[in-house]
């Protein structure tokens, strides 16, 4: 029972990292300039690495010969349980950086707590990942400040990105039955406990960037239940193409 809940918990965290990794990889060779192209590809690789650690662990928990690759390439859209913000399209560079900044801030606080998990493997993955998230956040927050406090055009684009992605941020702090049980077992993180710290970091950076924090008017959720926006299916059809067309193909 607990093992099944832990599987769902680890799988959801793995899906978050995998989908963000895939999104960021779509910037490869399309970055605004060479260094930034390399940066986005580097962050993508870190996310794939994180996804691999989590999905391998999920596969172990599942047993029955399930592998990390099966989980990544052979599940359908409704079986993916990533939060919606992770799947949002890249849009323009400001859209990507705002998504990244919101998620890096979340990851920093979430992983910090996850290092204290009673589950040794999750704690180890968190200790490893937080080092990477620390410099991801440095990178994305610097961009928010540079774009927000930049030209009228860059300011308008980054503010527009914040306004359109804001409705997906609340979902990061939602707690479902799996989360609650994991917290009771001292394995998972109580996301409600990191919300105020997230707000504080976001507010500080937005203030320095001369940007406005939107109102919480509309809130979109459903990712952890497999209810996604129309964009996830397109991402999966691209990511899973090879394994769907040539099942079990190997390098």
């Amino acid at each position: 029972m607990i093992k099944d809940l832990l599987y769902k918990y680890v799988l959801a965290l793995g899906d978050d990292a995998l989908i963000l990794g895939q999104r960021l990889s779509q910037w490869a060779y399309k970055g605004p300039f060479l260094e930034e192209d390399i940066a986005l590809s580097n962050i993508s690789l870190d996310m794939f690495g994180r996804a691999n650690l989590l999905l391998e662990y999920a596969a172990t928990l599942k047993g029955n010969g399930v592998t990390a690759d099966n989980l990544a390439f052979k599940r359908n859209e409704r079986q993916f349980t990533n939060h919606i913000l992770f799947e949002r399209p890249n849009g323009n560079f400001a859209d990507t950086m705002v998504r990244q900044f919101f998620l890096d801030t979340f990851y920093k606080l979430f992983l910090q707590k996850l290092t204290e998990s009673k589950d040794e493997q999750l704690s180890a993955i968190a200790q490893k990942s937080i080092k990477e998230t620390t410099y991801h956040l440095r990178h994305s927050s610097k961009w928010i400040i540079r774009l927000g406090d930049g030209t009228a055009e860059s300011h308008a684009k980054v503010q527009s990105a914040i306004d359109s992605l804001w409705m997906f941020t609340n979902e990061l702090f939602e707690m479902n039955d799996v989360d609650n049980e994991m917290v009771r077992q001292k394995i998972g993180v109580n996301c409600l406990s990191i919300k105020s710290e997230w707000d504080k970091i976001i507010d500080e950076v937005l203030a320095e960037a001369t940007l406005k924090r939107p109102e919480d008017i509309q809130i979109i959720t459903g990712g952890r239940e497999g209810i996604h926006t129309e964009h996830l299916g397109h991402l999966l059809s691209d990511m899973q193409y090879l394994q769907r067309a040539y099942p079990d193909a190997k390098w």
């Binding site: 260094e35 390399i38 690495g49 040794e120 080092k131």
Partner: protein, 151 residues
């Protein structure tokens, strides 16, 4: 056969396995090899990844395997350990000198140009050609160089 090989000899062997992306240093130099030991007749090698998404990690594992088998060692197991997470603090001064020799500024809070030793340097990008490096420029000699990030 295996019993005749000492632990020291295995460490020496592993020192000949280079990092595929920074051949100036070995997997031992980088601190990727955490432990070498025998369990009865079986050789156990424990390694840890530098960055979780480092594409060279799988390659390094394969290279270790290849080097062992070239020495006729067949009864071995390579385990991956995540915690404690890899840190550049595990690099010795000797290894840092090797990096500098290869034109890469070694991990340090204060980045110094590996060409002219100037401290007047600026970050070009926190992300370089591999996950472990950042791109810098020296304002003294104008040389672009990599810094092996301190983590």
């Amino acid at each position: 056969m295996v019993k005749e090989v000492s632990i020291d000899a295995i460490w020496e062997l592993l020192k000949t396995v280079p990092d595929p992306e920074i051949p100036a240093v070995s997997v031992v130099d980088l601190g990727i090899v955490r432990n070498v030991g025998f369990n009865n007749d079986q050789l156990n090698i424990t390694i840890t990844p530098t960055y979780s998404g480092c594409p060279a990690f799988t390659f390094m594992k394969e290279e270790i395997t290849r080097h062992l088998e070239l020495e006729g060692i067949t009864n071995y197991q390579i385990n991956t350990l995540l915690a404690p997470p890899w840190t550049t603090d595990w690099m010795s001064d000797e290894v840092k000198a090797k990096l500098k020799e290869a034109g890469i500024a070694p991990p340090s809070h204060e980045v110094i140009c590996p060409q002219c030793d100037s401290k007047k340097v600026q970050v070009v990008s926190e992300f370089g050609s591999t996950a472990c490096k950042a791109l810098y420029k020296c304002n003294e000699c104008s040389e672009i160089f990599h810094h092996f990030k301190q983590i």
